[in-house]
Amino acid sequence: MTGGPYTFETDNQYLQHPNPFAEAQRLRDEGGSLTEAALALEAAVQGTESANANAWRQLGEVQAENEKESAAVRALERALELDDNCLPAYVPLAVSLVNEGHDRQAYATLERWLRQRYPDLLIADGAAMAMDVRERVIDSFLIAARSSDGVTRDMDPDVQVGLGILFYGGGEYEKAIDCFVSALESRPEDYLLWNRLGATLANSGKSEEAIAAYHRALDIKPTFVRARYNLGVSCVNIGCHREAVEHLLGALAMHNNKQSTVNVSASLWETLRRSFYMMDRADLAELAQPGADLDKFRGEFDF
């Protein structure tokens, strides 16, 4: 759809590991480094797990948490190519597509998920009615919300999250916030949801509340690079550039970048350059390119 084939890191010690897939599970369960987990999963899908949609889905999730969006999109698309019944791949893919500005594809992905998740649901054929895609998918999700309410008396939190993404994509931030807050009521330890709530608050101009939500996410999952990136973005937006730089450098340090790294985080480097320009430090901005040695910044910044 958007990404083409996934590009693998060339320098990967897990290629020699006897069971990289099991090692990846261990790293994820123990809250280890996302970069290490991604490498282990890359080795797994290049070996015995190459046709395992679930392994590709996990690789996509880890890359998104590690703030490497285009790699995430490619891995998640591969998961669904292998098995369109791999339900947990849809929502993360929709999220990554919205983040990359591919809104229509994100809505189509959510619609596919809803049809797989609720095959018996009667969804109006909006295409025939020439409705706006986003409004059409929102209508379908609201139908699903009402029907699940009747059966279990609890709303499906995945439906809430899907609705949150749809409202977010249309700039209806207040409604999106309500969705993420109610999804958090049933999943208070879900660090992804705390981050999604934070990003929505940030985009509606509530940087301080956003920062509190990101800290909740990081308390639960300290290695969550994306939340640290977002924390950097909110610091830029409230004019705290030094703090922003320290969060962004901290996130990049978790990547443990080598010169040879293939999947770099464009957003982390871009925001770091921007923060340096805001501090009138064009000299540092010019150094802040993918592959740069982070030790060059250690003298001036704590991270």
């Binding site: 703030e67 969006e69 999220v95 919205v98 983040n99 993404i165 977010y168 700039g171 931030y173 981050n195 999604r196 934070g198 990003a199 929505t200 940030a202 985009n203 509606s204 101009g205 956003a210 994306r226 990136y229 977002n230 950097g232 973005v233 909110s234 830029v236 937006n237 004019g239 464009a266 957003s267 871009e270 925001t271 350059r273 921007r274 320009y277 805001m278 901005a285």
Partner: protein, 122 residues
Amino acid sequence: MPASANDIFKQIATGLEALPQEKRKALVSKTKSVFVFDVKTSSGQEKRTLNLKKDAGSFSEGAAEKPEITIAIAEPDFVALAEGKQNGQKLFMGGKLKIKGNMMLAMKLDGILKELKPQSKL
């Protein structure tokens, strides 16, 4: 400390500077227009030109001579617009954002300002 029009101008300038070349060129080729911001502050009119017409684009002081669109707005509304607390269409409907030139370009303004800001990720 609430942001001022100058903070927003600086954000736009650095946002353009920090974009990688290919994204900058992509923004120019999908916009192909010159925007002038005419912001009313307590100390007078501040004018800036966001040129997204050719090459890598630029942001500069003063007003270009023949922009495709001039946007006249008061400082607090300009700040709210850039921070995402207000949208361009609502400000326009409420008479708080005035447009001279190509009206359709105003519709692109929210998106352009968003692209020049660091993006939070869901």
